[in-house]
Symmetry: C2
Subunit: 341 residues, 2 copies
């Protein structure tokens, strides 16, 4: 229990809105403390100087700041005699474990992300194949067009999507390539959508990989290995599990299915990202399910998104979102997994 009063120091511009909306005990004008600093002889007091005036008034001599706190402010505060303790992420530990209403907000964002995925997959499904291209509504279907479909559907639902990935063939072999140009049959198309609900501010996150028409045997094998990797994570995740151990189990499953990871001809291939990450008010939160140290706790909401990427064959990534429970995890994602459409 934290009995310290919560104080917000705001500019004139934000003062009224902060008073009306912020969940704090007191909103104070930064102007008041800038004026005091000026009265004390500083010609152009900065934010840190105004803060010092407030801290003096409250007889506070030591501060806890997040790891990402700006060094220019830290240096100024220390110069003025304050003691800073730097707390690495998570600064607000309460954000790690989601309340039922937070899980609900994430689930609501996910449902609408699924609707956008369905608009995308629907267009690919409806498209006709001609000259090694996809044709839809009289035009060659491109990654850009699918991204527009996704963005429009989300916007109508009150979500905003940025950096949506629609990556076909070679584009998909780089997990963060956003994709461009015509979509082609027989190649993997990775669709990764992670929009934010403009009202609740929570994120959804969903990835599916599809192929228009028949998938080559090599892609089918990759797809089933990734599915097996995801199932392995679902089985391993529970309250008390180490993220690193879950991630290693996924890596092992992919290897046992015949898929190695490493640098080939100067380029990474295989499974070279984390298994997942926390999801909430930020798209990437703690805990991570990766090689980093992190113990999973009931109420964590994390993505489970193994992937395999092999130049000249293609990339596959499949991503659901789960909430960690005492004995395992509950999948919040409902969207089906189907390779060929």
């Amino acid at each position: 229990m934290n009995l310290e009063p919560k104080i917000l120091l705001m500019s004139d511009l934000e003062l009224d809105r902060a008073r009306a909306q912020a969940a704090v005990d007191t909103v104070l004008p930064i102007r008041r403390y800038e004026d005091r600093a000026k009265a004390a002889g500083l010609e152009r007091p900065g934010v840190a100087d105004a803060l010092c005036e407030l801290l003096e008034e409250r007889l506070i001599r030591s501060l806890l700041v997040p790891g990402g706190f700006a060094v220019e402010y830290a240096d100024r505060l220390r110069e003025r005699g304050l003691t800073l303790t730097v707390k690495p992420e998570p600064f607000f530990e309460g954000r790690l474990v989601k309340s039922p209403s937070e899980v609900e907000a994430i689930t609501a964002a996910l449902r609408r992300t699924e609707a956008a995925m369905d608009a995308a997959v629907g267009a690919i499904r409806e498209a006709e194949v001609r000259d090694d291209l996809l044709w839809w509504q009289g035009r060659v279907l491109t990654a850009e067009e699918i991204k527009r479909l996704i963005a429009r559907q989300l916007l109508d639902d009150g979500l905003i999507a940025q950096h949506t990935i629609v990556a076909c063939g070679e584009d998909g072999c780089d997990p963060h390539n956003e994709g461009s140009g015509p979509l082609r049959p027989g190649r993997s198309i990775i669709i990764d959508i992670f929009p934010r609900d403009m009202e609740t501010r929570y994120f959804g996150d969903l990835t599916r990989t599809v192929v228009k028409g028949r998938a080559p045997e090599a892609l089918r094998r990759i797809y089933h290995a990734v599915l097996a990797g995801q199932e392995c994570a679902f089985r391993s995740i529970r309250d008390g599990a180490e993220g690193e151990v879950v991630h290693q189990a996924v890596q092992r499953t992919l290897e046992e299915n015949g898929f190695q990871t490493g640098e080939v001809d100067g380029r990474m291939q295989g499974f070279f990202h984390g298994t997942g990450h926390g999801l909430g008010l930020d798209i990437h939160e703690l805990p991570r399910v990766s090689k980093a140290k992190a113990t999973l706790r009931a109420g964590n909401v994390v993505t489970v998104e193994p992937g395999l990427y092999y130049p000249a064959v293609g990339g596959v990534r499949i991503e659901d979102v789960v909430v960690v429970t005492e004995g395992g995890c509950r999948n919040l994602t409902k969207y089906p997994k189907e390779l060929e459409v």
Copy 2:
């Protein structure tokens, strides 16, 4: 001229894309330096530890970092013997003065912002007034509906808008209130749109204030004072002008027109934000045209957006974007200024 090689230290996930896209001399895998730190005895090296290995390899003992650099990394680097010099913004001074192609990108973003403004103003113009409400296409016209129109138009044009303001009546008296609910005739409606071009990454920024039907005399007087304030800024801005002096001249113009600024009944009213800010790859850049110290230089691109806000009367803000020139400034914004629609 900077002859130091530019090095990017990247995770495996971003390595290939960085090599393909980044304007640097070398892209190196952070993994290599993490491995060295481990070999040197650190069990779980952090980013700063990996960086130290690289700096040791390059015989670098001192660093220039931006003011916003994370204190946790700064502390770790200093602990390991590095000397840090903290440079406040602007860290990259080249961003202050825009090249012709940057001005072009901002202008292109502005044109499409104007098209979105036109969709918004067009709907208000077309709306019918009934029962002190605006009706459009069979429904009560709301701030939310106008924001959807704006977002859709921008999305189709390749821009993404967040936090668009459509604030009617009392909502508009708080300059950062995004606005909600039904729009009403005879009240000021502030529309502030600042989208980012998803391709060039440059921002546009445009504000207009309109009234459906006849504006009350008090609002008309405010509107003309704000216009006079903006004209005053246009006349004052030039290479070598002090942002603070321009801002004070605008303040004086508003006062001479009879509009005072200050706290009334515990709430700010009048003109209580800056006159403008730099615009570019960020929505808020240096230089500011405000009470802060800043000398304007030819090639700076800044907004000029005086406003007046009086509870029970309404808010008015009018915003254009100008590029500073040797002898004055050139207005990049073309959208008309018309109070009654």
